[in-house]
């Protein structure tokens, strides 16, 4: 409990009749990067809005940095930094003014403010843009400035809601580097994302959230391991028969049926198991039409636990899920 900088117990949130957050409990340890991974509309932003005091607490217990969210919201506000999902920069203020304004809102003394502005502009590499109006910044620069702003008051926890939404790959990688830096310097990070790779890259722990509920939590490798070492995709002349045959192998952890083929989850290095699988099927009189071998990704983890793809993630060829929402 002492090392838990965020402690959430049975949190619920209703928009009218609609339950947007359904009995969520989790903890984040000091110094961690913790992610909520889920599709748009899963309830991630609602949780962040409640934790950052933008929405009122309805049901449950939350403490952040040792302060109770319900009874000491001001203390919570002082302890956190936020990077919002949409851009929230005044177009007609300069980079320096944006940071100054933020520092003033938190009653930072002038000298501390100025020193921090210098420090942060160096961190996010915007020193040259100090007196540029934010309307003249590129999308990536704006995002970096927002991250700097979130860090202005040296918060104990930095909340980031979809920090790389709508950015190109190069910019995203750059932002990930900053996030890693910030975390290494000791700031706890709470991240929401619907990008699998982002959660995978940055997080110490991930909770997969869907329909307002936490489906599963764990370290990225734990979640991936649940699927086995490798995934082998097969299209054959008789998929169900092929499944039956392969189930008898010790190193096969499980089999999932797809529209046109099957995915075989295996416990050992698939590169060496594949020949054996193909032999077995051939002996069983099954013709193999297509084969693919890959390491499980966070996408597969999500599909595995929710029974469906991320609603807005690009469907990977041959891996479409036919049945919807089997749940877990």
């Amino acid at each position: 409990m002492e090392d838990d900088i965020i402690y959430v117990d049975s949190l619920e949130y209703f928009f009218g009749e609609v339950k947007a957050v359904d009995n969520i409990s989790f903890t984040v340890r000091k110094g961690e990067t913790f992610s909520f991974l889920g599709p748009n509309g899963a309830g991630k932003s609602t949780v962040i809005n409640v934790l950052t005091t933008l929405l009122p607490m309805q049901k449950g217990r939350v403490s952040i940095a040792g302060y109770d969210l319900k009874t000491e919201p001001e203390k919570v506000r002082e302890s956190i930094g936020i990077v919002f999902q949409e851009l929230t920069l005044d177009r007609n203020m300069t980079v320096r003014e944006i940071l100054e304004y933020h520092g003033k809102l938190y009653s930072m003394p002038k000298t501390a403010r100025q020193a921090r502005v210098d420090e942060l502009l160096e961190l996010v590499e915007l020193e040259g843009k100090r007196d540029t109006l934010t309307r003249h910044l590129s999308g990536g620069m704006k995002r970096r400035l927002e991250i700097a702003r979130g860090l202005m008051t040296q918060p104990k926890v930095l909340f980031m809601d979809e920090p790389t939404l709508g950015l190109d790959l190069q910019t995203r990688i750059r932002i990930w580097d900053y996030v890693k830096d910030i975390n290494q310097q000791g700031t706890t990070i709470f991240l929401t994302t619907h990008y699998m790779d982002e959660a995978d890259q940055l997080s110490d722990r991930i909770s997969i959230i869907d329909h307002g509920k936490i489906i599963v939590s764990g370290k990225p490798w734990e979640l991936k391991n649940a699927l086995g070492e490798d995934l082998i995709y097969l299209e054959t002349s008789d998929n169900s028969e092929a499944g039956e045959i392969l189930k008898q192998l010790n190193s096969v952890k499980g089999i999932k049926e797809k529209t046109k083929g099957i995915v075989v989850m295996v416990n050992v290095d698939g590169t060496y198991l594949l020949p054996e699988i193909m032999d077995k099927l051939r002996t069983g009189g099954i013709i193999i039409k297509a084969v693919n071998l890959k390491k499980p990704s966070m996408d597969d983890v999500f599909v595995h636990y929710t029974g469906r793809e991320l609603r807005d993630a690009e469907a990977e060829k041959g891996y479409e899920v036919s049945e919807r929402a089997r749940g877990h």
Binding site: N49, L55, R77, E78, T88, D90, M93, E97, Y101, L105
Partner: protein
């Protein structure tokens, strides 16, 4: 004392000075009122009232001087009612989330917007007065230097209270409305009764009883009377009507404006406490 409202004030002034076009228009527009409407109407009114017998022993002032006070008050009304608009945009564009998620008490948002709006009104009033004096408005005639300074302080005090009242109202509207078009419509609707049931451009003495009653509680009317008291004097006649203001009248106006502003503050605080921006 928490000085958070100065942060809100700082940002609003920054934007005010930065929007050159807005700044320019804000300063020029009231002067144009005086230049065009004032001079055009002044010739008409002076011609119509030339035949009326002047009250003996009472100073008579021209129409331009009469509406000089009206234009100052009217400009303060319009500027103040629009002063909260920034909050509507902040709310719609998500900029307000930063402020609402900060430890700044919400009341400081109201105070900060109030302060910056008040300063804008002071600047505008000064521009109108200077421009008016150049056009021939007979303000402060026969005043000693001390009297002019006292009068200016008096005007600032009343303009300050009045503008705060309408700025708070503007904040309440801005924070409640969803769209700028809606806000524009509400404000236009509001300005009509305030403006036309006032003695800004013409005397209220010949209004029908209902309109007179309305004008008696109209904050704009109180402000205009007080500005006339400070700029022209306690006893004068214009457009054929004899005006007298006593110190008692000024005090009543003071109480009326303070009450109005106090109520508006409570409404703004209530509206702002209800708002959630996500």
């Amino acid at each position: 004392m928490h000085t958070g409202f100065l942060t809100i004030y700082w940002r609003d002034m920054l934007r005010f000075v930065r929007f050159r076009a807005l700044l320019f228009a804000t300063l020029i527009q009231p002067a144009l009122w005086l230049a065009f409407f004032g001079i055009a109407m002044s010739n008409n009114f002076d011609r119509l009232t030339a035949t009326l017998p002047a009250t003996p022993g009472v100073r008579t002032v021209g129409y331009l001087t009469f509406i000089g006070a009206g234009v100052i008050a009217m400009t303060t009304l319009f500027t103040s009612l629009l002063g909260g608009t920034v909050l509507l945009f902040d709310k719609n564009w998500g900029l307000m989330r930063e402020t609402l998620a900060s430890p700044l008490p919400r009341i400081h948002i109201i105070l900060g917007i109030g302060l910056s709006g008040m300063v804008k009104s002071f600047v505008q009033s000064a521009v109108i007065m200077i421009f008016g004096l150049l056009l021939g408005v007979q303000f402060f005639e026969g005043y000693t230097q001390i009297q002019v300074i006292v009068s200016l302080f008096g005007i600032m005090l009343f303009i300050g209270i009045f503008s705060l009242g309408f700025l708070f109202l503007s904040v309440a509207i801005a924070i409640t409305m969803e769209s700028p078009e809606g806000m524009q419509a509400v404000i236009t609707l509001l300005t009509m009764p305030f403006f036309f049931a006032s003695n800004a451009l013409y005397p209220v003495n010949s209004f029908p009883p209902l309109l007179r009653a309305l004008s008696a509680v109209n904050p704009l009317n109180h402000l205009i009377s007080v500005i006339r008291y400070f700029t022209i004097g306690s006893d004068f006649s214009s457009i054929g009507i004899h005006y007298t203001y006593t110190q008692g009248d000024v005090f009543v106006s003071f109480l009326a404006l303070v009450a109005f502003t106090g109520i508006m503050f409570l409404i703004a605080r209530w509206r702002l406490s209800k708002v959630t921006v996500t």
